[in-house]
């Protein structure tokens, strides 16, 4: 277990010496995952509203299928994105395989079903009275959806954070479509995977600790804003 202590020391050293390569990798990791989370939220939340607020045949099945996609292996998503963007694939002409862009696309594909499913759950958690009240006060469908979404804001935020967590922590997809190219598509997880394969356990764990610290910051900011704004309200 001394490796763990060593890893912490290494992590602190890397952070406080500001090792430029590690900093660059960390920034890239955050950039890719945040972009992916943003776009995925942009897609998932409206779709979740469409699913939740409409009654249609097969709605239950659709939700089950979405839930199934919680279990989609990153390798499978990686393969799919790869065959689409590879030279021989339908979008090969774009030539964006092994770039950060395609990593963002892959992560969006990976986390959108999860985010959609969780947002549907979040919306279902809002008491039906809220919807009735909004409608009875003259809200149109969009306005009503917005109101319900606001009531479900914490659960929706959790959905987005879980998507972010999945995006920032996954490695199979990142290697497969990003290629783990040093200085270009290497992220913290792919770097960890490389260091591990080279037997550098401490360094790898140190990178993992840095990743968790980043995630902690991203996740704490909203709850911090929330607390601040509720404090403002009370004044």
């Amino acid at each position: 277990m001394s490796e763990l202590a060593d890893a912490f020391v290494t992590a602190l050293k890397l952070i406080f010496t500001g090792d430029p390569e590690v900093m660059a990798v960390a920034a890239r990791t955050l950039g890719i995952s945040c972009s992916a989370t943003f776009f995925a939220a942009l897609i998932s939340i409206p779709i979740a509203c469409l699913i939740h607020f409409n009654h249609f045949k097969g709605k239950g099945t659709l939700i089950s299928i979405l839930q199934t996609f919680y279990a989609i292996p990153t390798v499978l998503v990686g393969l799919l994105v790869f065959i689409i963007f590879s030279r021989a694939g339908p979008l090969g002409g774009l030539g964006i395989l092994f770039t950060p862009q395609v990593m963002v696309i892959g992560q969006v594909v990976l986390i959108s079903p999860l985010m959609t499913g969780l947002t549907v759950s979040a919306l279902s958690g809002v008491r039906p009275e809220i919807r009735d009240t909004a409608v009875s006060l003259g809200a149109g469908r969009l306005q009503m959806a917005r109101t319900v979404l606001v009531e479900a804001k914490y659960a929706t935020l959790t959905a987005v954070l879980i998507g972010f967590g999945r995006a920032i922590s996954e490695v199979g997809l990142a290697i497969m479509v990003g290629g783990n190219i040093r200085g270009f598509t290497r992220t913290l997880t792919t770097a960890m995977s490389l260091e591990t394969s080279m037997g550098n356990i401490e360094l790898s764990m140190a990178l993992g600790i840095i990743l968790l610290s980043l995630a902690l910051i991203v996740i704490i900011i909203p709850s911090w804003i929330q607390q601040r704004s509720s404090r403002v309200q009370q004044r």
Partner: protein, 281 residues
């Protein structure tokens, strides 16, 4: 499926591999860590059932990069390792983690690249080819070299070639965008080189396994420095030294050496390995 032999093993022995064993073994299990290239060619999938049948033991084959396989050996998590990096193997034995380094097969590395060969290295010696690559790479945008960059045996060999050609590896590494480090295994590196129409260094086994999907061709396949020796080492801390020695004996036995020498002929039309038990390589 899920198995090496169905897709890459050509021999009838593999298709008659024994069924699944229960997940909780009653007998003890011997663990061998092998470098990925030996595993991906299907050689271990081919040999494993023979060894298990012969000695009535469960053989667990774990594949990893050379660095990780050695790390497992150091920590005592495996009983035997088969890797291909002479200097590191010797260090491993010298440090007392391994009993003895026993070479049992070899083949050659290949420098491969696009058929058009924009750098024009076809037929050169490895050192000249590398010298040409760095020169062209820095000037012609079409020329790229993809490096494993993962401290594997293959990566070690690449570094050795650079050294032999008179370059500091650190200089090569930072010499520009033409030199791409993937930090991945041989397979993914080949795929990437193919996508980028780039050059790379590969062991012959993995290259042959991928050849169908690739537009790359071997450009340099001769030169002593390309020699790729696989050896087997019994880990010093093993709990089953006898069985571990059995495995070494098995690999170096005439019968198996003969099989290794013919492995791959059916599928690729040529053998993947040359047996070399007893030789100092």
């Amino acid at each position: 499926a899920c198995s090496d032999e169905e897709t890459s093993s050509p021999t009838p022995a593999a298709t008659t591999s024994p069924g699944e064993v229960p997940p909780l073994p009653k007998t003890s299990r011997l663990k061998v860590a092998t470098t990925t290239s030996l595993y991906d060619t299907g050689l271990w999938g081919y040999l494993e059932p023979m060894f298990e049948d012969k000695y009535g033991v469960e053989l667990d084959v774990l594949y990893a990069g050379t660095g990780k396989a050695l790390e497992w050996g150091i920590r005592g998590d495996v009983d035997v390792i088969t890797v291909h990096s002479r200097s590191r193997e010797e260090q491993f034995v010298a440090d007392g983690y391994g009993v003895e380094r026993v070479p049992f097969a070899y083949n050659y590395f290949l420098i491969i690249g696009p058929e058009a060969d924009p750098a024009g290295i076809s037929g050169m010696s490895p050192e000249d080819a590398f010298t040409q690559l760095i020169a062209e790479g820095e000037s012609i945008p079409d020329v790229k070299f993809v490096s494993r960059g993962d401290d594997s045996g293959t990566h070690g060999k690449e570094k050795a070639i650079w050294a032999s050609a008179g370059y500091e590896y650190e200089d090569v590494r930072t010499s520009g965008g033409w030199y791409v480090e993937t930090g991945s295994g041989m397979g993914p590196t080949l795929v990437m080189a193919n996508e980028m129409r780039a050059y790379t260094l590969s062991d012959i086994g993995t290259f042959l396994a991928y050849q169908g999907d690739l537009e790359l061709v071997p450009l340099v396949d001769e030169g002593d420095i390309l020699l790729n020796v696989y050896s087997v080492i019994v880990v010093a801390s093993t709990k089953y030294p006898d069985m571990a020695n059995n495995l070494v004996e098995f690999l170096t036995s005439d019968e198996i050496q003969d099989l290794i020498g013919r492995y791959g002929v059916d599928e690729f039309g040529r053998p993947l390995f040359t047996p070399c038990a007893g030789q100092d390589m």
